[in-house]
Symmetry: D2
Subunit: 110 residues, 4 copies
C-alpha cells in the first residue's frame, strides 16, 4: 500500500493475520471440539482478540495518531490470548499469530 507509512505495513499485516487466524480457529476448531475450547473466559478472550486486531489495523489504515494506544492494548490482549491458547493446547497457529502481532504492536507503540 503506497498510502501507508511503510513502517506500519508489517504491523497492519500482522493484525489482520491474527484477526483471521483467531476468528477462524474460534468459530471452527473451538466450537467443534468444545470442552475447554468453549469455556466462556477462553472463548471471550479469543473474540476480544479478534475485535481488537481488526480495529487496530483500521486505526493504522485511516492514519489516526491514536493508533499508538490501540497498538498498546492490542499487544496486551494478544499476549493474554497466546498464553490461554497455549494452556488449552492444540492451537499452535493461533499462539504464533498472537505472539507475532503482539511483538509488532509493541514496536509501533514504543
Amino acid at each position: 500500500m503506497t498510502h501507508v507509512d511503510p513502517r506500519m505495513q508489517p504491523c497492519i499485516d500482522n493484525c489482520l493475520d491474527c484477526y483471521s487466524v483467531c476468528l477462524s480457529t474460534a468459530m471452527n476448531h473451538c466450537l467443534q471440539v468444545g470442552g475447554k475450547h468453549t469455556e466462556p473466559s477462553h472463548f471471550r478472550l479469543m473474540m476480544g482478540c479478534t475485535e481488537i486486531c481488526r480495529t487496530t489495523a483500521h486505526f493504522m489504515l485511516i492514519g489516526s495518531p491514536h493508533h499508538v494506544h490501540l497498538c498498546r492494548e492490542c499487544a496486551e490482549i494478544c499476549d493474554e490470548c497466546a498464553e490461554d491458547c497455549e494452556r488449552i493446547g492444540d492451537m499452535d497457529e493461533c499462539v504464533e499469530a498472537c505472539r507475532r502481532c503482539a511483538e509488532s504492536c509493541r514496536q509501533m507503540a514504543a
Copy 2:
C-alpha cells in the same frame, strides 16, 4: 438486554448512538459541505471516533474485562472529536453525542 451488566447498558447505548451520529454526519453532512469539513485531520478524527465507539460497545457486549481500557480510549477520542466539531461548527448533534459518550465511558473506566 438481560445478559449485560445493567450498569453497562447506558454506556453501550451511548457508544452506539455516538457511532451512528458521527458516521452519518461525516458521510452525509461533511462530504456534502466540504471545505473545513473534509480537512484530513478533522475527517480522520470523525472516522476514528466512529470506529472506537463501535468497538467499545462490542467489548462491553461480549463481556470482556478489557472493556475498561477501551472505554478510557473512547472517552479520549470522543472528547477530541467533540472539540473539533465545535471548532468547525454546525455539528451540534455530533458534539452532544460525543460528550455524552465520553462522559459515560469515563464512568465505566473509573
Copy 3:
C-alpha cells in the same frame, strides 16, 4: 439523526438493537449454558446475524444505495436466527429482536 433519511432511522435502530441482543446473548447466555447453545451451526448463525446487522446499519448510515441488498440479506439471516433460537429455546429477547429487524429490513428492501 438529522442526516439520515427518516424512513431509514427505525431500521438502523432495529439493526443495532438486534446486533446488541444477539451478540450479548451468544457471548454470555449461550457460552454459559453450553450444550445445544454452543452447537457450531447455531452459534455460527448467531455470530453471522450479529455481523450482518452491524454492517447493514453501517450501509444505511453512510448513505450507500447498496443498503437495499444488505437489508434483503439481513432479513433472511435474521429470520433464520429467530427460528433457530426458538427451536433451542430460552432466548425470547433474541427471537423478538431478530423478527423486528427482519421485518423492518424487508420494508427497506421492498
Copy 4:
C-alpha cells in the same frame, strides 16, 4: 489457516487486501487531494467497498453458508468501485485490488 476451506483462503486474502487498500487510499490519498476525490458519491462508494470487503471476509472466516450471498454483493460493489476509481484516476492500486477481489468473490459465489 488450517481451519478454513483452502479454496476460500485466496478470496479471504483478496477481501482483506481490498479492504486495506481502499480504506488507506480514501483516508489518506483522497482526503489529501480533495476535489473529485471527495465527491460524496465517490467517497461513499469507497467506504461501502471497504465495509463489504471486511464483512465478506468475516463471513468466510466464521464458516457461514451465507458467505455466498455476501461474495456476490462484494463482487458487485468492488466492480463499481474499480470503475469509479478509474474514472477519477491516479488510484491504480485500488483499481487492481478491487478487480482482483471482485474476480475471486465471483468464483466463490458461482
